[in-house]
Amino acid sequence: MAPIAEYVNILIYLGVALFIGLAALVVGALLGPKKPDRAKLMPYESGNDPAGEVRRFPVHFYVVAMLFILFDVEIAFLWPYAVSAGGLGFYGFLGVVGFTLLLLVGFLYEWWKGVMRWR
């Protein structure tokens, strides 16, 4: 356990960082000429809409996000074992290896299924 005061330090750090960032934004917004017109407000790229009409995004992003959630949960489960490995002994090691192997089977399945391939 860490003393609660250290968490207060993190809060102070957050506050200071927020203050400096906001100050920089305010300075940038106040100083400088302001003459907006139609051409300047267009998104990008010589008057053309850069993205245009898009039907939908590839599903890869969704797959990657889902895999990330799954394996992030795996890490969240592995973390407590990593901290207390010695106390749990060989039995605990077997348990965590079994758990990891189960997820490894899932990983191999999706690897061979080719969901990682970006085409």
């Binding site: 189960l102 089977v105 899932g106 191999l108 399945y109 061979w112």
Partner: protein
């Protein structure tokens, strides 16, 4: 032992599926299921416990039924993608786990292990089954949430996750009620039955076979553990509604799968009546006959067409293929409960137990609605003898399975005494 076989095969075949052809994987899946069945039968009547995982008579009886359903489904289907067999295996693993635990958390995990593969299986053919699969998924997830909330309240009021721990007060009653709702969805008891007709109609027929047999058996095992210790009065209401709605709505159906869906709701009501009177023997035997008969009906339907089966399309099935026609006829009569068939003894046992328990109101209602059901079961069974153009291109394997199930129904109907002691020994 059974769990080890099932888990090892489902995990191992996940990787092996890339190396061997789908038809070889189908053989391996069948092998795994048969091995699991063997390991179950070899240790019949022996208990086993490892933490919250406990094998006892109840778990063995219901696992047997679930494995039968899984075997039948895999036998009927030849899929080009090997995941179909894996999903059935994973679901069967979940069913065995659900039947062999009294721990609410493990029960929830098992419930999801069996449900998630079924959500995927329900949409196996794209397009048609999509709406049904979505409904099944959303309502199933809702039911699981009910179950989880009930488990949380149960833990909160009794301080224990084991079912059957005595508790008191309104919160404990609420917890039991929520658990009942969650499991009621799974077995399709009446106020929670709305998904059943749509899902049964929209899903591929062999998958419906699995849903109607395996899921029902596993969910009834869980229901038995959760509810039977102190059966709440509310269950009586659910039974009355189930037999009424199931049988009356089935009268109006023009589509065979929808008809069987409502019939399965009614049968869930009869099985819940057996559970209400606390007779494991009657429940087990009824489920056995129900699994055989309803599996037979769906197996024949899946030979007729993998999609919707209007009742008219069954006409002439007997003239086209006498074996399939007769099998459907036998299945319908057994579901109705006519004497020389096994279904009769199932119903007889349930009604006998209800009479001995003094549940006269429910008994009269069940008898009356059972009489009403004769109309649509006879309509389904006799349709095969009428003139018409049935379409069926049965495969040899399906024909022998149909023959076997029909003979089993007849055999169990003639000598029910052979199985009852085994069920009693298991309990």
């Amino acid at each position: 032992m059974t769990l080890l076989v099932l888990a090892a095969f489902s995990v191992g075949l996940t990787l092996l599926g890339f190396l061997v052809s789908p038809s070889a994987l189908r053989g391996l899946t069948l092998l795994g299921l048969v091995l699991a069945l063997l390991s179950l039968l070899l240790t019949w009547g022996e208990g086993f416990a490892f933490g919250p995982y406990r094998v006892d008579g109840v778990s063995q009886v219901f696992t047997l039924l679930a494995l039968l359903g899984a075997l039948w489904t895999v036998g009927l289907v030849r899929s080009r993608r090997f995941e179909f067999y894996l999903l059935v295996l994973y679901a069967a693993t979940g069913m065995h786990l659900l039947a062999s635990t009294q721990n609410l958390i493990l029960m929830l995990v098992a419930l999801e292990t069996l449900s998630l593969p079924l959500y995927a299986l329900a949409t196996w053919r794209r397009g048609l089954g999509l709406e049904a699969a979505l409904k099944y998924f959303l309502l199933g997830a809702l039911a699981a949430a009910f179950f989880l909330y009930g488990a949380a309240l149960h833990f909160g009021t009794t301080g224990s996750l084991e079912v059957g721990v005595a508790g008191e007060g309104p919160l404990y009653a609420l917890a039991l009620g929520l658990l009942l709702v969650g499991l009621g969805f799974k077995v399709a008891l009446a106020p929670f039955h709305f998904w059943t007709p749509d899902v049964y109609q929209g899903s591929p027929t062999p998958v419906v076979l699995f849903m109607a047999t395996g899921v029902k058996a596993a969910a009834f095992a869980a229901l038995l553990r959760v509810v039977a210790p102190g059966a709440p009065e509310a269950l009586g209401l659910l039974i009355a509604l189930s037999v009424l709605i199931g049988n009356l709505a089935a009268l109006l159906q023009k589509e065979a799968k929808r008809l069987l869906a409502y019939s399965s709701i009614a049968h869930a009501g009869y099985m819940a009546l057996a559970l209400y009177t606390g007779s494991l023997e009657a429940l087990g035997f009824y489920l056995l006959t129900y699994v055989l008969a309803t599996g037979l009906a769906f197996a024949v339907l899946s030979e007729v067409s993998p999609d919707r089966v209007p009742l008219e399309s069954l006409r002439g099935l007997f003239h086209r293929d006498p074996l399939l026609g007769l099998a459907l006829f036998v299945a319908a009569l057994s579901l109705l409960g006519l004497p020389p068939l096994a279904g009769f003894w199932g119903k007889y046992l349930v009604f006998l137990e209800a009479a001995q328990a003094g549940q006269w109101g429910l008994l009269v209602l069940a008898l009356l609605t059972s009489a009403v059901s004769a109309y649509y079961y006879l309509g389904l069974g006799l349709a095969v003898f009428q003139r018409g153009q049935a379409e069926a291109a049965p495969r040899p394997w399906a024909r022998s399975a149909a023959l076997l199930a029909a003979l089993l129904l007849l055999f169990l109907g003639l000598v029910p005494g052979l199985v009852l002691p085994a069920l009693a020994a298991g309990s």
